[in-house]
Structure formats: C-alpha cells, structure tokens
Symmetry: C2
Subunit: 213 residues, 2 copies
Amino acid sequence: MTAAPTPSLRERKKLRTRQALIDTALELFTERGFGGVTLDELCEVVEVSKRTFFRNFTSKEDVAMAPEQDLWRAFLEELETTAPDGLPLVELGRDALLAALERMADEGWARRVLLSRRLAERTPSMAAHGLQFCEATTQGALEILRRRFGLGGGDDVRPRLAVDMLIAAHHCAMAGWVDQAGGAAPPATPDLAVRLREAVAALPGSLTMSVEG
Amino acid sequence: MTAAPTPSLRERKKLRTRQALIDTALELFTERGFGGVTLDELCEVVEVSKRTFFRNFTSKEDVAMAPEQDLWRAFLEELETTAPDGLPLVELGRDALLAALERMADEGWARRVLLSRRLAERTPSMAAHGLQFCEATTQGALEILRRRFGLGGGDDVRPRLAVDMLIAAHHCAMAGWVDQAGGAAPPATPDLAVRLREAVAALPGSLTMSVEG
DNA sequence: TTCAGTTATGCCACTGAGTGGCATAAGCGT
DNA sequence: ACGCTTATGCCACTCAGTGGCATAACTGAA
C-alpha cells in the first residue's frame, strides 16, 4: 500500500543484515540456548560488528523477539486504518489483529515465531521483553482509540480492559498454537487465526465461569 | 497463622538487610533514576557486599519490584486456602487478591509500592520485570486451580483467560491508584481495594463495549 | 564457656552486555 | 569523479551478574 517496490540498495543491505542477525540468532539460541551464545559469537557468524548489532536491536533479547514485534507493529497500523462499524471494541481489535496476521503470511514468519516462542518459554528475560512489548502495544492501541474515537478519556477503564482481554486471548491462542505445532504438521498462520477467534469467543464464558461446572 | 513470632536472630538480621536494601534502593532510584545508581553505590550505602545483594535479589530490577512481589506471593497463598463457594472464577480470584491486599496493610507497604510503580513507569526494564512476575503468578494460580479444582485440563482456555482478566483489572486499579496519589492525600491500601472492585465490576461492560457509546 | 557445625558474608577475579567516540568505507546525487 | 550523507568498524570503557574460596557470625549441645 505504502511501501516502495525497491527501497534503494542501502536499505536493502541494511534489511538483509538485520534479517541475517534474526535468523542466525534464532538458530544459535535454539541450538545452544539463549545464555549459551554470546553476542560476539553471533556477530562473528554474521560477520558484523557488535556496534552494528546494537544499531539494529536494543538488546540481546530484542533480536530473538523481532518476529512478534513485526506482528504488533502491523496490528497498530491496522487499528489506525480500520473502520469503526459499531462493533464491540474487542471484536474490532480482534479483526485488526487478524488482518495483521494475514500480512505475516509470507516467508517463514510462522517458523520464526515458533522458534522465538519456544525460546521465550525457557528464557525468562526473553519472556519479560516480550511482555513489555505487549504492554507498549497496549498503550499505543489506547492512544489510537482515544485519538480516533475519543475513547478512554477521564477515568473510564473499560477500553484498557478490552485491549488487555484481546491480548490475553492472543496469548492463549499463541500458546495453544505453539504446543500443537510440536507434532507433525508445520504450523501455519491460518491455524493461529482460528485459535485467536476461538479464544476471543471464549472470553464471555471465562468471565462467568465458576469453579464447579 | 504459620509464621513464628521470633524466627531467630540470624533470620531477623537477614530480613533487616533485605529491607534496608529495598528501602535504600527505592530512595536512591527515585532521587537519581534507576540508571543513575550503580549497585556498587547502593551496596556501599547499605554497607553490604555486592555478593550479598545477589543472594537476596535476582537482579537490579528485582530489588525495586520487591514490594509487589510480596503481594503476589500472598495472593497465591490466599488462593491456596480459599473456599470454592461456587463463585465465578474471576470473583474468587478477586477476593483472594483483596485478602492478600489486606495483609499488606502494615508498615509503609503502600508508600513502597507507590515509589516502585512510579519508577517502573519510566524504566522499561523494571516494567518488564514486573510483568514477567505477573506472568509467573498467573502460571502459579492456574496450577493451584488445576490441582484443587481440576480446572484447566485439556485445552480449555477459560481459566487462563479468567486469571488474565483479573490481572488486567489489577493493573487498571493500580494505575489509577498511583495517578490519584499524586495529589495531597497519601494513598492507602483500602483505596486500592476499592479500585480493584470497580475494575473487576467493569469487566463485563468492557467486553461488550462498542466504539460509539 | 567452649566447641563443633551450619550459614551468611566478604573479597577477588572474571565474563559478557551495552555505550560513546571517532575514523573509515559504502551508497547516493550531481 | 566529486562531495555529501549514512552505515559500519574498531577501541576502550562502565557496569551487571557469577563462581570460588576464606572468614566471620549465629546456633545448638556439651
């Protein structure tokens, strides 16, 4: 929609090293664990100075969480351009997230996210970094909602709760998707979309659910 | 209920240095910012070796988030001993959290949490650490629910969503409480309890809320 | 009080993440 | 071929966090 077809050689080169860093990092971390790989090693493999690494990513955790960050960035963009429709806020967000998900269909995004999540499960600092980015996305989403629709003014906590619910549903969907992917079939983004719909649909039930039943 | 009245001199000493580290850390961080204070400085003020610091806390962020961790620990204990009652899961959790909150009424807990949250607002790594601890608490809560009530077996996502909703409500309550506390009156835990009740009560409305209304 | 046994602490050296400064090379427009 | 911009490389540095080992402090019993 907005991107140029060929964003100049310099840009492409930068993007390529960035991608190489992400892919190599996921590979090495998966092989020997997050703590078992130093940045110096990673940089040596990719043939890049450590200084360059930190111009592309904010931290060691950041490079391994990059795939998910792409999704959230796309989500905010979708939320920015989507039509109100009078839908419930949660469903509005859900549709924006689904649209963002469809944009990720290309290349090996699914594979990368899968590796990233598996890593995050056994690496607290990665999990923390991911959650922090979710929080930042929440803030961004609320800002958009406030600006576009005038929501969240004063002390109305409902928009915030609605966005948090959506993200909770996403976490559930992602967790189930990652677990399922352990078996034979390589996981695909459509599967994740289905799970997200299910999780959002389960929200009302989980609100009223009681311990016996 | 379970604690001993005087847990031996050694224990008390340990607790004292721990508390001194927390208080001094909050003080110094508030004064000069999280990044503006090195652990060596902190340890020098408290007259403790850096090695000792890391026997009490897992990281620099950890010491500043200790007050909130106490709350979550108490929450899990309450959840462990609370009666089912046939209440909705979210309300069960809410009551456990309220009970935990009442346990925090003593001393300057409110003041410490306030400082901690203010710090976390402008220190991403602290926010991340806090979120990660919430996530760990969620896992712990789900484990308790599964063990005590057989919930969450198979692929039922509802318990997980319910717990996440509770935590989202808590975040809202906490955020509002911290903002309000900026004025004159020093904030108290009862105020936080009220806000938590309100936030939980707002959950159904936020689920159905639409953009025009 | 003394004497073991336990446990917290201090000290020291070390790894590795992350930063700042500055020179250089690579892409870019003319 | 020429400057101009921008990414990169290199170097030295700070500081968080860890491991090992000696020592001091507490504890419980003789």
